[in-house]
Amino acid sequence: MFEFNESEVDGLHCVVCNSEAEKKNTLDQVLRGVLEEQIVSICSATTPFLLLGDVLDCLPLDQLLKSSPSWRRMFPRGNLCNSFYSAGKNYLLRMCNDLLRRLSKSQNTVFCGRIQLFLARLFPLSEKSGLNLQSQFNLDNITVFNKNEQESTLGQQSSEVKEDGMEVEEGEMGDEDAPAPCSIPIDYNLYRKFWTLQDYFRNPVQCYDKFSWMTFVKFSDETLAVFKSYKLDDTQASKRKLEEMRTAGGEHVYFAKFLTSEKLMDLQLSDSNFRRHILLQYLILFQYLRGQVKFKSSNCVLNDDQTAWMEDTTKLVYQLLRETPPDGDKFAGMVEHILNTEENWNSWKNEGCPSFVKERPAETKPTRPSSRKRAAPEDFLGKGPERKILMGNEELTRLWNLNPDNMEACKSDSREFMPSLEDFFEEAIEQADPANMVEDEYKVVRNSNYGWRALRLLSRRSPHFFQPTNQQFKSLDEYLENMVIKLAKELPKDLPSEEIKTGEEEDENGVSLLKTGSDSLQAGLQNKPVTNSQMDEIAGKLGDGWRLLADQMEMKASEVREIESDSEDVDLQAKMLLVAWQDREGNQATMESLITALNAAGFTAIADSLSEA
């Protein structure tokens, strides 16, 4: 967290209170130090912008306008250093756009303009959001004029005057008090045609349509003929006006739109500035119609007649510009130059606004002198030549540099902690096997902890989890049992099961059985392990000769002595031998091997009787 210093706290506090001078002062102070380098050490780079945004949102408009010099001081060079730029550019953009929305373009034009200028300097030229890439036009800029005769203001005014002046004699009508009923005859034709032209300037794409083009040509010809015949007076009118303007010292008034009252038509025609506006509009329009703009649709093409007319008219317009005082020639020259530069910008836009900043060629950086008093910042940030992040301590450094990039470390395989389905559910599958006869309450699926983990694993690994089913499960363990059974059927049975094992053994024995040529049908029986009762039988038949069988069974002498010492009953000893043999052999203690052993020991009769059974 950052800390405000005292003055900033005061500043914020005083923004809320009422004293004007105080407010201005503290606002100045607050804003002054905000965008300096030291901020980086105090707080994150985005904090000053958040602060600025909030301050701007709280201030009412008149405060804003008064405090605008402070803003200027805040951005002395009009641009931000690199560390602030990337952090703050979006905040600043949003802030400025909000401000612009609040301000009125016609009343606070200067302030709006300053904000726009600031935005223009903040972002690089090639910033696409600030460019009119698609060459769109401000179609809302409609010039309103009296198209309908009934709405003519002249008619209204004269009727007003009539009402007022009912009592007044004719001679007095139109005197100082009442506004004079129009004293100038108006050329309505010209008025209407002239202002209709503005519609073509507003939306140049109309010119590609044949009928609109014809109207445009007709009206333009008339208007330009009027301009041509009505030469403007250089010395008298304009100079006087200029001097008046300078001496009056009045503010430069800005009109966003043309004033289209009929009464002004005469005055407008005799004004050189107005004429220049209109002629310039023509030139800009022609440049657009002629130019190659990437976003123009393909049917926006001029035919030869139109191009010829445009060329003639362009020459006429330039000539008129040169004749328009004051300094007509200079003005015309400047206009031509500016329009030529526009062509460059147009082609730049067509290419997709490549950046003007040249990429620095990859130079070989001069090798840094090896002796440095302090470790260079790049070193301990992991960008130095050794690329190690120094943690200040040997051990920590070693640990950290095992894998300095945390994200990469997390991706490594050794951190894969999620078990596979087989591993996790092995126990559950085993328990689910009814042969094992595990009781419900001991089943691991009942464990809620296990159940939760099981669900998570299923959702990650098993498609069964997502298959819709009509079964209603009353509880989690039932559901899990169900799932476990499904899984068990699917999983590859690498769990060793005796059946598989005997299957393998069967193959071996099958070979030997084929060799002896004896009954292979009975082999199935012989695969079973020797049961107790069978062992009792054999023991009874063995009797004393169990020692011979022991030799054959490769019983150790110690075991034989043990058996002898255990009991005196020969049957019992034989039984014990067989048991020991079974213990030793485990799964291999089948009837088959017993028979083999008996045969080898010479007890063929017993072996035969066993085989027959």
Binding site: S152, G174, I184, D187, A225, D266
Partner: protein
């Protein structure tokens, strides 16, 4: 009026009504057409409003000059003067109030009347024409009081200096004579063609336009249009206009002149031509300014076509009325 007649029509004279809402124009067929200016200048003007509301034949020959008094329209052509009441004319009634003829010496040939002016001081009508004389008629009684003789060739134009009561006349003989209206004597005679700066021998010596403004006089024709200071009787500025000017008027600081060439020339008092506003007719005979009305303050020019150009803003042609 077929298309051929329209093609060969020339308008020789114009006059605005006293109220300023109507324009009367006379052409070479002897017709007078009355146009409604208020209709033509209104916002909902159509093509029809640019046609005359009334056309009638006033004289047998061309109507060379028209003049409006407070109530009447006076027209003169081939030797006789007719008077029409404006009120009646607006009501489409074409009965002349009176028709008079000055006393011509010879009765064989009837000279045309080229120019008429009114002297408001003694309510007399001054008429000049083809018999080289200026006749003065009393408006009330209708009698021709006196004759001013002196010109050796027919009179083109007349002008009046109201303050001094002097009549200026310019004629084919190239002389501008200044007459005192009371004594009926010629006071001065200026032969313009004798001054080198003005003279244009290739065109001739005739003076076809005269205008005066207190001490200043404009005259032109064969010689270049020039501005004269009457007290010193010398030309102060000569205007470099190409053709022969047939009518010139003073208006505020500018001089409007029409003549040969399809344009109205705006000239400054210093002698420079400020502008030449193009018109429809190939050459212009007459120029009129409707100064009596503020609403319909227009300038009209007409000449060798059937169109009368109307200028609402004096610097460009707004529309044309046609016969």
């Amino acid at each position: 009026m077929g298309p051929v007649e329209l093609l060969h029509m020339s308008v020789f004279s114009q006059s605005f009504s006293p109220c300023g809402r109507f324009l009367a124009a006379g052409n070479n067929y002897g017709e007078i057409a009355i146009f409604s200016l208020s209709a033509a200048l209104s916002p909902d003007a159509t093509d029809l409003s640019q046609k005359p509301i009334l056309t009638f034949t006033a004289h047998e020959g061309p109507v060379f000059t028209l003049l409006s008094t407070d109530t009447h329209l006076l027209s003169a052509g081939n030797g006789e003067i007719s008077a029409w009441s404006w009120v009646e004319l607006t009501k489409r009634s074409t009965k002349a109030v009176w028709t008079r003829r000055p006393n011509y010496k010879s009765s064989l040939e009837i000279p045309e009347i080229n120019a008429m002016i009114i002297n408001p001081k003694d309510n007399s009508l001054i008429v000049g024409g083809g018999d080289n004389n200026i006749h003065i008629m009393d408006m009330e009684t209708g009698t021709f009081k006196s004759v001013l003789q002196g010109h050796t060739d027919y009179i083109h134009c007349l002008a009046l200096k109201e303050r001094e009561g002097e009549i200026l006349s310019g004629g084919e003989d190239g002389a501008v004579r200044i007459w005192d209206s009371r004594t009926r004597q010629a006071v001065h005679c200026i032969e313009v063609f004798k001054y080198e700066e003005c003279a244009r021998p290739q065109f001739g010596k005739w003076i076809s336009c005269l205008a005066t403004d207190s001490d200043w006089m404009l005259c032109g024709g064969g010689p270049s249009l020039s501005l004269w200071h009457l007290r010193s009787m010398s030309p102060t500025s000569v205007f470099p206009l190409a053709g022969c000017q047939r009518e010139a008027v003073f208006h505020q600081d500018v001089i409007f002149a029409v003549g040969e060439g399809p344009h109205v020339s705006h000239c400054l008092l210093g002698g420079s031509v400020k502008a030449q506003i193009p018109c429809t007719s190939p050459s212009l005979n007459t120029l009129a300014l409707n100064l009596s009305s503020t609403e319909h303050r227009v300038m009209t020019a007409a000449g060798s076509s059937d169109k009368i150009d109307v200028f609402t803003n004096f610097s460009y042609r707004a529309f044309s009325l046609s016969f």
